[in-house]
């Protein structure tokens, strides 16, 4: 059983934030979802202090071996999350990680404090791909901003703080080191790569928001390299993600230094991808190009 920041997990495969809505899935699939929950921990979609409707459609666009999304973080806001979603997520058979984002330290602090003492919450993921309203800098692009944010949040909770790194930087390891100095317990990477596409007919941007984030197998080689450089630079455990669709893919991330892996876009193709990836990690794929990783994470 892998252990991650003191949390025991049944296997090393969790979900990527924003790519699995356990509440909606339970409505669709019923309690079979709980009996056969695909992830060893559940990461919520990112919540923000106030409710957000998300971006205007079109929000998604298929690309070679991947997709671009500009969903825009629709969520019920902190109050709505606590009142409506948290009780339902607490029924899941696995530990809950709450993902939060804000545009300033006080707002981030409000989010962290609100879940800091909740028994239902096992850990907090900080989505730092956001601008600081005061400095204008994207927090996750600036090591000093990241460190300062962690220093501000660290005293507020005993729960593990996971920093979700942004991949759109020259040196993600520098940001990871700053997160470590600031008191983070773990990092997760990669978030989506800045991307766009044009509608072939109109030749206008395909997404209403103009651009979005690339995910799926296409980004896997970028994710593996960033993970490799980050894992080499810090002493903290890392959650690796970006295009994982099979046990063989997951084994590459573990080879690159991941303690856990997260499945995102692949869940859209296969709702049980998490369980499948976890199972495949133990088997040799029929493709020959396969993997039998020595999984000793605990």
């Amino acid at each position: 059983m892998p252990e991650f920041c003191g949390i025991s997990l049944a296997h090393p495969v969790i979900n990527a934030s924003g790519t699995f809505d356990a509440i909606a899935a339970r409505r669709v699939y019923g309690d079979a979802l709980l009996a056969d929950f695909p992830f060893s921990a559940f990461v919520s979609k990112t919540i923000t202090p106030e409710p957000r409707a998300g971006n205007a459609p079109r929000r998604i666009w298929e690309t070679p071996a991947g997709m671009i999304n500009s969903i825009g973080l629709p969520n019920k806001g902190l109050e709505g999350f606590l009142a409506e979603d948290l009780p339902q997520l607490a029924e899941l058979p696995v530990p809950l990680i709450v993902s939060v984002m804000a545009t300033g330290r006080p707002e981030f602090a409000r989010l962290v404090e609100a879940v800091a003492d909740r028994e239902e919450v096992a850990a907090i993921e900080l989505n730092v791909s956001c601008p600081n309203v005061h400095s204008g800098l994207i927090v996750g692009e600036a090591p000093a901003e990241t460190e300062a944010l962690l220093e501000a949040l660290r005293p507020l909770t005993a729960k593990p703080l996971i920093v979700k790194l942004t991949p759109n930087v020259a040196d993600p390891a520098a940001v990871a080191v700053a997160a470590e100095s600031g008191g983070a317990d773990a990092v997760s990477l990669i978030n989506t790569l800045k991307a766009s596409a044009f509608d072939p007919l109109s030749r206008e941007p395909a997404l209403a928001a103009g651009h979005g984030g690339l995910s799926g197998p296409a980004v896997r080689p970028v994710a593996l390299q960033q993970l490799r450089s980050v894992a080499a630079a810090i002493g903290l455990p890392a959650i690796g993600m970006g295009g994982i669709g099979s046990g063989a893919d997951a084994a590459e991330f573990i080879a690159a230094g991941a303690a856990l892996v997260a499945v995102g876009t692949e869940s859209f193709r296969d709702p049980r991808a998490g369980s499948r990836v976890a199972a495949e990690l133990d088997f040799t794929s029929p493709q020959g190009a396969a993997v039998q990783p020595a999984l000793d994470l605990d």
Binding site: A24, A25, Y29, R59, E62, P64, P217, R269
Partner: protein, 275 residues
């Protein structure tokens, strides 16, 4: 009944052409019988990637008919090949397997009033949008809901499903090129019908291109007639996971078409700008 959790492989039992479209059948050994309006996320098991790394995601396809089969449920789909995903589904050969996730989404609701005197259901379909109406018509027939079917097609090359899915029953046709029925839009037929005395107790059920759905919605709103529209939007997952399928709500904000739809009451959409 819920869809089985996860995706499953189903074998193709048939595939034939139908007025420019294709109709293919899957044998589903596990799933429940789908309801009219529901859809499945489909992806060929082999050779899904066709061209430049696409399709990558599964494709949302409405179920057009269903029935019991030797060891499960037969699912019929009507497909218009417009890109790599639907193109691959069009060429499925019997014996091939398809990844199936579903049935997903909500279903058309029955008219509340089904008394003898009530106008009953008016089904308005256009192009590939006739697919979900086929199953709906049969269900209504079985439940003795009076049904009138109005179908519109661009031309003979875009009239798929007519012979296969609506063979049994009376349909009123419109075609833009006049090759069959009224020359013009199917909404011309609907407009005439909504001036009838019994229109107030009718419920309109519609699926088709955005412009047609918007005309249906506006007509029904003008005549105070209830309507249910089966919409489309880009879908990555079909089960509420991606938030990609957003459709604007009249009061602001968005609904997720895959879990809150694909069937939406006419007064729950402001204006249909995409199908």
């Amino acid at each position: 009944m819920s869809a089985p959790f996860g995706r499953r492989l189903c074998e193709v039992s048939e595939n034939h052409s139908s007025g420019g479209y294709r109709v293919f059948s899957l044998l589903d050994r596990e799933g429940p019988t789908p309801l009219p309006g529901q859809f499945y996320m489909l992806a060929a098991e082999d050779h899904w990637e066709q061209l430049g790394g696409r399709p990558f995601l599964p494709r949302a396809i409405s179920v057009a008919e269903t029935g019991p089969a030797a060891a499960g449920v037969r699912l019929d789909f009507l497909i218009e090949g417009i890109g790599p995903g639907t193109g691959r589904l069009c060429e499925l050969a019997p014996g091939e397997s398809v990844w199936v996730n579903g049935p997903l989404g909500n279903a058309f609701r029955e008219p509340r009033e089904v008394s003898a005197g009530a106008a009953g259901a008016i089904l308005v379909g256009g192009g590939i949008g006739v697919a979900p109406l086929a199953l709906l018509r049969r269900r209504f027939g079985e439940r003795n809901v009076p049904v009138r079917v109005l179908l519109g097609f661009r031309d003979a090359e875009h009239s798929g499903g007519l012979d296969d899915l609506f063979a049994c029953c009376e349909v009123r046709l419109a075609s833009e090129d006049g090759h069959a029925g009224h020359q013009g839009y199917v909404t011309d037929l609907l407009a005439a019908m909504l001036t009838g005395d019994d229109a107030g107790s009718a419920v309109v059920y519609s699926c088709g291109p955005a412009a047609m759905l918007e005309a249906v919605r506006a007509l029904c709103a003008a005549h105070g007639v209830a309507c249910e529209l089966a919409l489309e939007s880009p879908m990555a997952c079909g089960y509420g996971a991606c938030f990609g399928c957003a459709v604007p709500k009249p009061e602001g904000g968005y609904l997720r078409l895959c879990v809150d739809g694909p069937v939406i009451a006419g007064d729950r959409v402001a204006e249909v700008t995409h199908a």
